[in-house]
């Protein structure tokens, strides 16, 4: 049964391990995955704890549906206080780790303390063992995974590991599994590194009883048909996520040269079709791969075609690698993007953050805020591919003054660099934005400004806002499972109704993250994909838990509020440029210079933006400072937090 999967509390300082069941009432309140992790984080960390100290608690989890016969239940979630932002740290990855953890008997790990020497966790059919990892330290992400399999003599072991970047405490180091799957954002790999935890290796052969197997199978089939019949998923399934990059760039929504332009020109060599050619050449016509149980298969397989890493196998490059190593630094060669993508996978670092930070440094260099003395000889101009690759190495190994400085993350780096460097940093709550440019899309701008983990597209982005769907369709989507009769606009440049869409998407994404399903299987890029209604059914068929779509919505809202409470406890305030629900001034002051006619010249309007935030708070039941009111907390059953149910 999915419901008999356990939670383990692991103290790396003492070596104590305690295994507990997860009570049904806790399940019904938080389901699992990110939602339950948020509850655990709020309950198991103290205000102001050092993100890199033993008191920070790292949660690792699968969703409540992990490995069941729902659809693409592959996601693993990581949560802790972020060393990058000092606020909520939260990252999610696909692959095959969470299902293996579930077959090994566990849904949640709560990891505290700090080991004196490098260790890894071995989790096998209900047993957890802390093992020496001295021989793994220094290894890349794939080297580590293969070495663990070899050591334990089992090629079916799935591991979540850190690479050199995590060991070197780069603030935005990630956790990786397989070749490409990354829990990328907010530095969860850095937290593992600070605990001397190199890897978590899972292997299990324990049955997960499906409550209603025949229905679960049939519903899964329906899900898959629904998912694979969506045009957007068919395109993803053949071109991978680069297709989104291509379309967005064409339209004018790709940050270029940090934030100087909103379109990367003359980028033929990194257009999705060109990338597809390279993949086909090396890997044949069938070169797509995917995560556990997923029929979208959005990752391409490739070999680097030329240069010092020629012939190396990797997967991707996804949407974000094209932005991070192509558009933002204005390096438009496939070789560079594919090499950058390979290096971040091997070193275990967030591609979004490192690409964005290097582009920021490039702008500072061109402005003279950084000099060649600071860069120790690196000619850090935009469009210098070699400089980009060199900086990836330097940051991951903290080499040189600038590598070491940038490894601390944008805000600490800006404090060290000084002058007006901060003004050029495209961040929210201390986390850099991905490569997208939201000046033409108020809904997307509101989403990154309010995201609970900082600037990000996977917290609340109403991406379908770009499709100009008829209002009637928008209303169908956005007034379920709770009624909404306020304004909604098909116009992506409008401000009306956008706060509700952002609020709705927050709950939608929190929902999938609690279930452990991939976002490509819900209302993210496709308007016709499953959400609350369908989840109620798959939850029942697979686990036997009966919950209405509205009750799942309530769980999502409850969990999102806990994330808010955590951020508030750590000192976030509405208008703080470093910790608040804010945007860099450039969004308001610098008009888009390129792209389609409906993009050129646009900025975000300050007053309307403020109004959107007010409205967004009101939808949540938060006061004008963004603090949940006593009434809201009571409604969500959060008036007695921390309540330590687990």
């Amino acid at each position: 049964m999915a419901l008999n999967r356990k939670i383990a509390f692991i103290d790396l300082s003492t070596g104590d391990i305690e295994v507990k069941p997860i009570p049904l009432d806790v399940r019904k309140k938080f389901l699992g995955g990110r939602g339950l992790d948020a509850y655990l984080l709020y309950n198991h960390t103290k205000k102001g704890c050092d993100p890199l100290g033993p008191d920070n608690t790292l949660m690792v989890s699968g969703g409540i549906l992990a490995a069941t016969c729902a659809s693409a239940t592959a996601r693993t979630h990581f949560m802790a206080k972020s060393p990058l932002t000092g606020l909520l740290g939260s990252a999610n990855m696909g692959g095959f780790f969470a299902p293996e953890l579930a077959w090994a008997g566990f849904h949640h790990l709560v990891i505290k303390g700090k080991s004196e020497k490098p260790v890894y966790l071995r989790i096998h059919n209900g047993q957890i063992e802390i093992r020496d990892a001295a021989h793994l330290w220094g290894k890349t992400t794939t080297e580590t995974q293969w070495a663990i399999r070899e050591e334990l003599g089992d090629e079916d072991i799935k591991s979540a590991v850190i690479g050199p970047a995590g060991e070197n405490l780069v603030a935005y180091a990630n956790v990786m599994t397989g070749i490409k799957n990354a829990a990328g954002r907010t530095g969860m790999g850095c937290v593992m590194g600070s605990k001397n935890l190199k890897a978590i290796a899972a292997r299990g052969t324990m049955d997960i009883k499906i409550a209603h197997p025949v229905d679960a199978l049939e519903y899964n089939k329906r899900f898959i048909d629904q998912i694979t019949s969506a045009k957007v998923n068919q395109t993803q399934g053949s071109l991978g996520t680069p297709f989104i990059w291509g379309a967005t760039n064409c339209w004018g929504g790709i940050r270029t040269r940090n934030f100087q332009y909103n379109q990367c020109e003359n980028a033929d060599d990194i257009e999705p079709e060109r990338i597809d050619e390279i993949c086909t050449e090396a890997m044949g016509p069938y070169h797509m791969t995917g995560c556990f149980g997923c029929q979208v298969h959005c990752r391409a397989q490739y070999k680097i075609p030329s240069g010092p890493y020629a012939g190396k196998y990797d997967e991707g490059p996804e949407y974000t690698s094209l932005g991070a190593f192509g558009g933002e630094p204005d390096c438009k060669s496939a070789e560079t993007v594919l090499t950058g993508n390979h290096l971040v996978d091997q070193y275990g670092i967030d591609n979004l953050e490192i690409g964005s930070i290097i582009s920021w440094a490039m702008e500072l260099y061109e402005l003279g805020i950084l000099t060649s003395k600071d860069t120790e000889g690196v000619d850090l101009r935009f469009g210098n591919d070699e400089a980009l690759i060199e900086m990836i190495h330097r940051i991951c190994y903290r080499k040189g003054w600038l590598g070491d400085t940038l490894a601390d993350g944008g805000i600490p780096a800006s404090e060290k660099i000084g002058k007006n460097s901060f003004e050029y940093l495209i961040q929210v709550k201390g986390m850099n934005n991905l490569h997208s440019d939201e000046r033409a899309t108020p809904a997307l701008a509101l989403g990154i400004a309010t995201g609970s983990r900082g600037s990000d597209h996977l917290r609340s982005r109403p991406a379908i806002d770009l499709y100009h769907l008829p209002e009637k369709i928008l209303r169908q989507i956005y007034s379920n499972p709770v009624p909404y009769d306020g304004p909604l606009s098909s116009e992506h440049t409008a401000y009306e109704g956008k706060p509700w869409q952002v609020f709705w998407q927050e709950n939608c994404y929190m929902g999938v993250d609690c279930l452990g399903i991939c976002k490509y299987h819900t209302t993210f890029l496709g308007a016709t994909l499953p959400n609350f209604e369908d989840w109620a059914k798959v939850l029942y068929y697979n686990t036997g838990i009966e919950m209405s779509p509205k009750e799942i919505w309530d769980v999502a809202e409850r969990c999102y509020n806990i994330e808010r409470l955590f951020n508030l406890r750590e000192g976030m305030t509405r208008n703080d440029l470093k910790k608040g629900d804010t945007l860099n001034h450039r969004y308001f002051d610098e008009p888009c210079r390129r792209g389609a006619p409906d993009v050129i010249g646009l900025t975000i309007d300050r007053d309307k933006f403020k109004k959107m935030i007010d409205e967004y708070y009101a939808h949540h039941g938060w006061d004008e400072n963004g603090v949940p009111t006593a009434e809201t907390l009571k409604r969500l059953g959060l008036d007695k937090e921390p309540s330590r149910l687990l």
Partner: protein, 165 residues
């Protein structure tokens, strides 16, 4: 006409949905250890090959079984184990050249693909068609086409070469 599973591993994305649905269909549980099909992977090369029973004509498992517990299903043609007769010696596991006879440590039983009684779930769920359930006489048609394509390209190349000389 007898039907067989046709596997084209080049199309396989490695998602293991086939393993999942196989175990759910037969045992009502999610557990690849109970799946009759297993995807062998070379992750660092991006190679995934689903392995299942070939329902051999001259089946080694059938030949080796000391108590004649294995026979061929008359309607669907698959090789099947009669658990009332089976003594659990695992000789069939050892002798299968494809590793397609499995042993389940939980129930202590050998188990193998039974084509899901005529509606193979692995084929039904594999949307990229790496597994298809086809009439036995169609099994080589895909390979023929690919080989023929290779041949015609080679011939074209040869002709071009000759013309250039």
């Amino acid at each position: 006409m007898e039907k067989v599973l046709m596997i084209n591993y080049q199309k396989c994305t490695g998602c293991r949905l086939c393993e999942l649905v196989c175990s759910v269909m037969h045992d009502g549980v999610s557990n690849p250890a109970r799946s009759r099909i297993k995807v062998m992977k070379w992750e660092s090369e991006g190679l995934y090959i689903p392995m299942s029973c070939q329902q051999c004509e001259d089946a080694p498992c059938m030949n080796v079984c000391p108590v004649k517990a294995i026979h061929r299903d008359e309607d669907l043609g698959f090789v099947t184990v009669d658990y009332d007769v089976c003594i659990g010696c695992r000789s069939c596991v050892a002798v299968c050249p494809f590793g397609a006879m499995n042993y389940n440590i939980i129930d202590k039983k050998v188990f193998k693909c039974d084509l899901c009684g005529g509606d193979p779930q692995c084929a039904r769920f594999c949307e990229v068609k790496a597994i298809e359930y086809v009439d036995a006489d169609r099994i080589s048609i895909g390979i023929k086409r690919v080989a023929a394509e290779r041949l015609s390209t080679a011939q074209r190349d040869a002709a071009a070469l000759q013309a250039a000389m």
